[in-house]
């Protein structure tokens, strides 16, 4: 018998009594989800910038030090040009090493945990960009902040062979004596720009 069938048979022989699914959960709501998002993001080691209108985006980005000083910027955000990186010419994601800043549009944010949903389609052609770049700037529409993760998953749809990630602040570790260090493997900083 194949291992597959042996495992499934063993599970069916040992099956526990039927148990039904629980009902849905009503998640926490915030009086000011934007404020909650900002506070949680800061707690996660990130930074929030509020741009008032789409046309202000470029000038707001210019005020962000890591962006202003970056030699190489890879942008996936419409209207924001890349700098010294031609994403369409890169065949191998390994060639993304050395990118200083990635500017990536996020679909929506979650107030309770400062997570920003970045679908795989946005990251085409190389999903590694969100983690290999030294710094991350996420552009999120200000009206697209939900309160909690239950609402977030209600908005998600799943197509075959897809990718998507929630990003909440920069890469971090506390593996040495529980001492928090920002910038483990991924982004050394994470700035969310609300538009």
């Amino acid at each position: 018998m194949s291992s597959r069938n042996a495992i499934l048979d063993s599970l069916r022989q040992n099956v526990p009594p039927p148990a039904s699914r629980p009902g849905p959960i009503t998640g926490i709501r915030y009086a000011d989800p934007l404020k909650q998002f900002e506070e949680t993001l800061i707690g996660a080691g990130g930074r929030l910038v509020r741009a008032t209108a789409p046309q202000d985006l470029a000038s707001e980005l210019a005020k962000i030090d890591v962006y202003a000083n970056a030699a190489k910027v890879a942008s996936l955000a419409p209207g924001i040009p890349s700098r010294n990186v031609d994403l369409s010419a890169i065949e191998d994601p390994h060639d993304l090493e050395g990118v200083d800043v990635a500017v990536i549009p996020g679909k929506f944010g979650v107030a309770e945990n400062a997570a920003v949903w970045v679908p795989g389609e946005t990251l085409t052609p190389h999903r590694a960009i969100f983690v290999i770049a030294q710094h991350l700037i996420l552009i999120v529409p200000a009206q697209e902040i939900v309160d909690n993760l239950h609402q977030a998953y209600e908005r998600l749809h799943w197509s075959p062979n897809s990718f998507g990630t929630f990003i909440s602040g920069p890469s971090k570790t506390a593996d040495i004596e529980q001492s928090l260090v920002i910038g483990a493997h991924g982004a050394r900083s994470c700035t969310v720009v609300l538009v």
Binding site: L8, N161, S162, S171, A174, E177
Partner: protein
Amino acid sequence: MTGHPENAALFVANEERAHWHDQSLWFVRAKRDRQASGIPEWEALRAAASAIKTHTLSRLADYLEEFERNAIANGIQVHWARDGVEHNAIVHQILASHGVTRLVKSKSMLTEECHLNPYLEAQGIEVTDTDLGERIVQLRKEPPSHIVMPAIHLKRQEIGDLFHIELGTDKGASDPKYLTEAARGNLRSKFLGAQAGLTGVNFAVAETGGIVVCTNEGNADMGASLPRLHIACMGIEKLIPRAADLSVFLRLLARSGTGQPITAYTSHFNGPLRGGEMHVVIVDNGRSRILGQPTFRRSLSCIRCGACMNTCPVYRRSGGYSYGYTVPGPIGSILAPQRDPKKYASLPFASSLCGSCTDVCPVKIDLHHQLLAFRKVLVDLKAVPLQKRLSMAVMGFVLSHPLLYRTGGSLMRAIVPRLPRGLAYGRWNPWGIQRELPPMPKQSFRDLIQKEPS
């Protein structure tokens, strides 16, 4: 093999370090409490998580088949392994067929359980653990001492000394920021040079046929997004039915484990990279047998958050290595003896049964009840030392014979205070090794009550 008491004795011998370890974990437990209290529906979330797991376990074979169908539709190759040996052989075969000699791994307790690293290394494959804590213990040739914080037992100076030798950091340097930066540089070259990435699985979703991996460092994303070959290894119990269920578990996981609202990266892998391959290895390794045991099957609901370890007064004071098993702490003390009751017979006794683990468990596993129940199993198996079994038998006999109990009581009160210390604290009395017997009262409680005016 030595049991928990012997191993723990070595750990507590260094009083200063044992205290420091205790405080480090209590700090994480306190962070967990702050997060939990910020969510008004916390208890409803725990109840929902527990119910989803119970439901999934009641139809696990069906859901695994659904997962397999959808994973294949995603272009994922699905493998099944009955045990650790088969799991290791499958992983090696995938790597060998691609000529892989350099593998990067993110955290996977399952591969620790199966001892994958030494197996692959013996076949000439360089395996690099990339989670910082795992990298530290890998360089020290040690297993993780905690499932979420693998190097929680080490001090910064020890890590500094290790990195000085292994990574060429400055001698005596122990600043965590400096050491982390050195590891980042070293591991980035490993990521860029690897031909394959292996990750664990936090959740596998039957509905989507995809897996979810949570990290703070981003190491799973590096390993699964740079090389074209991604292998994900999961125990059969990692499955949940629907993507919407993730919202329940993700709200609980990081809050319970490290006291964060969510991990920095929560990535949903529903298929291979363009032009790449993705494999999922589904492993039983004794889990289906646990499913058949009504008293212990709820241990399969565990989402490996580590909260039961952080809160456990015994774990905090005895360290992860005292358990001698891949998963330490209260949950490990149930999982290990399932695998080998004789070898791990001391673990269900490594608990004060205070119930703190049960209180913090995000999926409401009745941990301390299971620990107690397992003691009975071990006594029935005669896996408990003769001295313990005999003293329990004597105690049971005395307690069920009131006259004997009363006579014995008055004798003890009369004799024990007159015994020379060497006799009262002789080898027959292990309880007295680090404790003083209470002073013997002049009268029993029964005497006192009878003298009370009614």
